[in-house]
């Protein structure tokens, strides 16, 4: 048996692959240095006892994290927050986009209005919110006019609602723009055909439009989900290291573990969080794939 010489087709393909590798390499190197390598390091840290001993302990760190009450609190808070904030951000943005589809005077001003929070730096956003919601802030001042006792917005159970609203305020505009683009892409004749066929505006939405929106819904959901895990930034700036307990997010936990040099627990927690996010996103992709597959041209 002689070894087969590679045919011209194979040679060409090999060359193509080499070429694409060369073109990809700059960003590939970037991803490796700033993403893959740190991720490997995190995995490494999560399975050793400490950076000095470097003894291999397998899942001890993970068990420790899961049993940690601060972690449990943080995970529960984050889950609760995401569960409310993310679907809300998606649905509200879609509703707003559909509203702005109609002929409304001053439509473009509305758009700018909803987009502006995106352009404001977080620090100044937080400043405004502090001015409004501080115990001696504007809102309490206003309420006192009506004889309502002052509420410490950020140190009661109201605080979670505050954060959800802050999150929406920050994210709705961008989501809405994405939905507006998607709505504009729905084939017009299909909607017309449905209306001739006797579909009400709800049926038109439910049977036709939502199919064409599903990739965007998926994208906006993932985006909002990731942003919801990042709400820590706003919370941290508003309330510092140890906020009111319902505001204690996963990243507070990690941040605090970082300051106390407990890299093992930090890494284990990060991996658990990553696994959960990946699982959720995977499930979303699977659902979208099944739901929207026929409408993609």
């Amino acid at each position: 048996m002689t070894r087969k010489q590679p045919g011209p087709e194979q040679l060409r393909r090999r060359k193509d692959r080499l070429n694409s590798l060369i073109y990809l390499s700059p960003s590939l190197i970037g991803v490796m240095v700033f993403f893959l390598v740190p991720f490997m390091v995190v995995i490494y840290y999560s399975v050793i006892d400490n950076p000095v001993n470097k003894d291999f302990v397998l899942i001890d760190n993970f068990i420790k994290v899961i049993k940690n009450s601060a972690f449990k609190q943080a995970a529960a808070n984050t889950a609760k927050f995401s569960l409310v904030a993310v679907p809300g951000a998606v649905v509200l943005a879609l509703l707003l986009a559909m509203l702005l589809e109609n002929k409304i005077p001053g439509k473009s001003r509305f758009r700018t209005f909803f987009l502006s929070p995106m352009m404001v730096p977080v620090a100044s956003v937080v400043l405004i919110w502090q001015v409004i919601f501080h115990y001696n802030g504007a809102l309490n001042g206003l309420l006192s006019v009506f004889g309502v006792d002052p509420i410490d917005w950020l140190k009661t159970d109201y605080s979670q609602i505050m954060i959800v609203i802050l999150f929406w305020w920050k994210n709705l505009g961008y989501n809405m723009i994405l939905f507006m683009a998607a709505l504009a892409n729905i084939p017009k004749t299909l909607v017309e055909a449905a209306s001739v066929d006797g579909a009400s505006s709800f049926s038109r939405f439910w049977h036709i439009k939502i199919r064409y929106l599903s990739p965007t819904i998926l994208f906006v959901t993932i985006l909002s989900l990731i942003n919801s895990f990042k709400v820590f930034r706003e919370v941290y700036l508003l309330t510092g290291d140890y906020p009111y307990e319902t505001l204690y997010m996963l990243q507070h936990f990690m941040n605090n573990k970082f300051s106390s040099f407990d890299y093992q627990m930090l890494s284990a927690a990060a991996i658990i969080m990553a696994v959960v996010i990946v699982a959720i996103i995977g499930a979303l992709f699977y659902a979208e794939n099944r739901f929207g597959k026929d409408v993609e041209q």
């Binding site: 004749t189 017309e192 055909a193 209306s195 066929d197 049977h207 199919r211 026929d294």
Partner: protein
Amino acid sequence: MASITLKNVDKTYDGDVKAVSGFDLEIKDKEFVIFVGPSGCGKSTTLRMIAGLEEISSGEIYIGDRLVNYVEPRDRDIAMVFQSYALYRHMTVYKNMAFSLKMHKVPKEEIDRRVRETAEMLGLTHLLDRKPGALSGGECQRVALGRALVRSPSVFLLDEPLSNLDAKLRSDMRAEIIKLHKKLQTTFVYVTHDQTEAMTMGDRIVIMKKGLIQQVDSPKDIYDHPKNKFVAGFIGTPQMNFFDGEIKTEGGRCFAEACGSRFAIDGRYAAFSGRKVCVGVRPEHMELCAGAAPENVISGGRIELVELLGSDINVHASLGDIRFVVRSQWQSGLEMGSAVNVRVDTSRIHIFDAETEENLAMTETEAEA
């Protein structure tokens, strides 16, 4: 089952595109009306206004006795076949066809019966479980047709429903739609730019040009008595021949002078004596003849091209820079470049005013009436 009345309907799109102007038409109950005209003349726009998909800029539209200017499409009791199919891509053929019935809350068994019946009629039964993505253009078009036909609305609106079918399927479907119209006893409004469809299917044809109605008549009347030069040229293949000329009276007889010859025409044209006109003769109303003659014969033409169409031929000829076509039986000895004489059937001549392009015969009768 309903009549449709359009009263002075105008449509101006944003940006001052005048798509339809002063559209006046009464479509009787159970009538089959065809809209024809060149691309962009406003056929689809008019149909879409009847459907309620396009706001009308001014005027009134009635379906039956009801003013529908502000009625939603879904409340107009119409079914429509779209020029671009507009099939729901995520639904199977069955669901596509069942959709409107479902929206109208028809019971499940009834939906099933009607969908299967319609699918049978359109030869779609084996495709019911497929999705539009897996169908050919012609199959999609039949599904689009089926989706409209499963219902029994009071008006059917069809926008070029056969444009993507092959010749055989098209003529089959044409016959099928005519039968359907007979069976359903419903008002049909049908848009096409195909002459055969226009001539064979409709009770009446509406010919449009640049948003204006040119003529509304039965196919035969449109063929025999075109109101103006545009209509005359638009209906009939090959196109009607036009010759510039003038009307003369001589010794009590009336002639149209053109092509270096003169054609005896009816005495009633005497009123237009001296008028510059355009003489129209259909290719099928001319014949090749042997000898020259002082009257009713165009002599000295040169054959430029002979088109063979089975038993018939189209002879394209020229006389100076005038070009014309003669429909004839096949005969030998017709060579390119050889000379021909053509006899014109003067009883079928149409005379149009050179400026207004109106048919003089009809302006006259209108003047009398």
